[in-house]
């Protein structure tokens, strides 16, 4: 019996030792390139959650990539972020912005050419357009959220990755004049106010715009949360407080109450009938996120700070 106990102990110790230590690292360079802002005082452009208002038709792309073995290629990928990459179908004459540009020393387009073997590549003179002569879409771009991903490889083949967040990946928003209009009256400065234990009161409307390309409303989603996480819920961040929906989303599996009028949703009266309640335990600073879709898929999205008293 003594043998049995001792044997088991020794074998257990062997197992635990094995689980707690690993083999030595490879000496070879397996480190991927680093993507960062051009300077410490700026951020990579387009930045997380950046809004491009209806007056703008292009987004500048600004960043730098470093790698000691030499940057080989940089990939710029922009595509619709409407449906969280579930690749849904929508029959519409509007087009999603879809850009895929590869910067390399062998690129035929001079705008995409980078220096061969450079250990630092700075991109500060490249724009993605969605209207005008250099537009990446031939028709009218669908307004709404777009994902941008920047990836890079080095001369050895090391690549940035989603798994360790060494890719740059975020969401920005294109606003267009034909998208639904969100018109909200601020209660104090640039923020809204609310009281704990009461329902949220808003003055304003969400409506079909005046542009000839504007369409009727399809879906409105009003939600109160602890912070805005660009519709990519952060487990540590955004906590939903309360929400209301009207209509049926083109992009997500979300459905709310029927619209009484698809041309306009009056927020004051609609929220009286369908209140957004502020819990008495709510934090002092919240955000109100309004997502509005028209029937062709254009999305307008606005975020407002809410001071809770």
């Amino acid at each position: 019996m003594k043998f049995q106990f001792n044997t088991i102990l020794i074998l257990l110790a062997t197992l635990l030792t094995m689980a707690s230590c690993g083999e030595s690292e490879n000496p070879a360079d397996l480190v991927s390139p680093k993507i960062s802002a051009i300077s410490a005082s700026t951020s990579i452009q387009p930045a997380a959650g950046q809004l491009f208002p209806p007056t703008l038709t292009a987004a500048p792309v600004m960043l730098k990539v470093n790698d000691p073995s030499g940057v080989n290629e940089i990939l710029l990928d922009i595509h619709g972020g409407f449906d969280g990459h579930s690749h849904g179908r929508l029959n519409t004459n509007f087009e999603r912005l879809s850009v895929r540009k590869i910067f390399s020393a062998t690129a035929s387009d001079p705008k995409l050419k980078i220096e061969a073997g450079a250990t630092e590549v700075v991109l500060d003179d490249f724009k993605v357009s969605w209207a005008g002569a250099n537009s990446s879409v031939s028709g009218n771009v669908i307004a709404g959220p777009y994902h941008i991903t920047i990836s890079a490889t080095d001369a050895l083949g090391n690549q940035t990755s989603f798994a360790n967040a060494s890719n740059y990946h975020t969401t920005f928003y294109i606003q267009r004049p034909y998208a639904p209009v969100i018109d909200l009256e601020m209660s104090s400065g640039n923020s809204l106010s609310a009281k704990k234990g009461l329902s949220l009161s808003l003055n304003g409307k969400i409506a079909k715009g005046d542009d000839p390309l504007s369409s009727d409303l399809a879906f409105v989603w009003v939600r109160l949360a602890t912070q805005d996480n660009l519709d990519e819920k952060d487990g540590e961040g955004e906590v939903l407080i309360s929400q209301q929906m009207w209509g049926k989303s083109n992009w997500r599996s979300l459905t709310g109450k029927s619209f009484s009028n698809t041309l306009e949703l009056d927020l004051q009266t609609s929220l009286v009938q369908n209140p957004i309640q502020i819990p008495s335990s709510a934090p002092n600073d919240l955000v109100l996120i309004i997502w509005a879709e028209d029937i062709v898929g254009n999305v307008s999205r606005m975020v407002y700070p809410v001071k809770v008293l």
């Binding site: 049995q4 074998l11 070879a28 990459h85 083949g157 989603f162 990946h169 975020t170 819920k233």
Partner: protein, 785 residues
Amino acid sequence: MKKTLLTLVLSALVQLIAHAQYQVKGQVTDEENNPIQAILEVFWADEIKSEKLITSSKGTFTLKFPTQPDKIKVAHIGYSDHWINTELNLNQTISIKLTPTTMDLEEATVIGDRFGLGSTSSSQIDLLIYQDFLQNTQSQSLGGALDKIPGVQSLNVGVGISKPMIRGLSFNRILVNDRGIKQEGQQWGADHGLEVDPHDVSRMEIIKGPAALRYGPDAMGGVLNILPAMPKTSEGLTLRTALDYQSNNAFFGQSTDLSYRKGHFFGSGRVSSSSFADYRVPADRYTYAGYVLPIVDERLKNTAGRELHFSLTSGMFFKSGSTQLTLSRFNQTAGIFTGAVGIPTSSSLEDDGDSRNISLPRQLNTHWKLLSNTKWNQSNGSLELDLGYQSNQRQEQSFPHLHGIGPTPDGNVALGLTLHTVTANLRKTKQLANSITLEYGLMTQGMVNNYEGFEFLLPAYQSAQGGLYGIINQEGERVSLNAGIRLDGIVMDIEEHLQPLYDQLEPTGEFDQRNPDITKNLLSPSFSAGFVWSANSSNLLKVNLGSGVRFPTPIELASNGIHHGNFRHEKGDPNLVTERSYQLDIGYGLLMNKFFLSFSPYLSFFQNFIYLSPSGSFSPLPGSSTLWQYTQDDAIFLGGELSIGRDLNTGTKINLGLEYVYTMNLEENLPLPLTPPFSALLHLSQNLFQNGSQRFRAELYADLRGTMAQNRVARNEFPTEGYFLVDLGGVVHFSVISRELKLITSVRNVGNTVYFNHLSRYRLINIPEPGRNISLSLLIPFIKN
């Protein structure tokens, strides 16, 4: 005086009658004394005349002949032939115990065999496992059931899909042989399972190391040789059901099998079905693309699935052998984790309210097989013919990608692949002398692959492959030798694929050639030689040296598209040449009183080893990342397994298995991808009631697995931390209404430990392995006649 004379006369008459009527009585059983209805073939000296008889259903026989036969062979399918020595005094009842054999090997032994190295006549490490072993693992997949065997790992996609890896080699370097026919599916994909019903495997041989000589070019890393189920040994009917439950993914399954024997005829049938929900991981969030993403209710969304398999076998013994025909279908629908396709977001991972639905993306796999096995027993050997037809259909379904490059495709079939395979293998075994056996054979295979869907990865192709081999074995009292040569050839015709080009959603009329027409005609020899030295009853040494080849496959030569299973664009290279290996395998076994140790190191050098290498360039295809190119470099694999076992008198057994694989790409001086980490499994078991009633037996066990971190990684592969897991379980046999039932229960990952498996596909997206899982299986013999 008269009385004396009468006695003498009667005595003489009895002697005369005794000579005139040669008689032998006996009973044939297996090693556990179960009766076997066997065929008796009686030969006389002139070898022309022979007579074939069959024993009673209880295995008993009484033979009477006017003249003494030269020899009597006792045969039964699945067992080694037994020869009765007719020179003995046979006027008494003799007991004949037949030993199990295989269709392909003369001898094989079980896990936990005397030395833990397999048979004592083969220089390879060949282990035989039985249905009990597979049942007790309670794995949903056959691949997953094998990872308790040192040197065998599994590549997993969640819990329902896995494929085996032997000594760090997998995909097209592990051959799965089902009832004599090589299983052909789309085995190049890490996310493609084995497509074999684990319930429908009654015996399986596992060969660790090269076995290309006997099985063909793909068997460089090893073979899983699924052997035909042994027909019932006595007349009657058997009906059994296995009921399975697993808590982690609310798995419910059943497998019912019926087998019969009537005279020379036998048959069996099995239906297995299961349904499982999304599986749970011990985490409510994970980090990917810089976001902390939710795992709602700790369930991985859309990992549910369902399966329905069946198999039917019918066969007969005829005058000089036996034949059987098997029809089977494997059918599986399995969801793919929503976060594993594209870039996941919180909205796409929101709970859909139904953990059992299988929505998009998902994979559907159907594998039909029609297999025929026939064996003719001959006076100095045997002749075997295996014929097979397989139809493998694989569909990956998803919403089409919308990247503004072309119009939105119809339907949800992203990638559909249909592979038809016909196989014919002829094998002859001939006894050249008392201890020398020659085996030679011809293997042929034809394949046709077609594709459909709005994505492209693998083109259409046709191939014809053939191999001729010869193996000679000499079995001595202490030393057994074997050696063989083989010649394989392939003719492959891969069709060009043209992808239409669009400009802002409008077709340009131009095409992108994804792959050209490719024709390959390749011919390569292989060889292998080895010996087994049974130094004494305590020491056994096996040494095997071989050189095998593997022809580049169509996926390696001509693929060009996004492989969502690996999250990248993969491209073949039509200039790839045949891969060659030089492999040395050693096995040493030490057996002492209730203690055994086996050590099996190996060293393999691969010339032109084919693997996927990051090109450093981004794919021109929309929606993909970098381009990975099939390339080939020289590489080495070395490692080994160590097993130690101790059987204590108290009914306690202790087994420790260690496994290690070291790989190196000799061109890049980097490890190869998916190298399994060093791991150890300590298995403790305790028999209960071993001296009590036979109506109740039980065994409890604990498995403690320690796995080291894997920091030796290939380029763009992430290190994986080590982990320590505890599994507990037990097997109980008990009798109810004269039926012996078997209850198997286990708790896997008792501590609900968060850990990552270096070989899991979901490791690539930072998803931990399944959490605690309580399994219950009940085996009920309804009819046992």
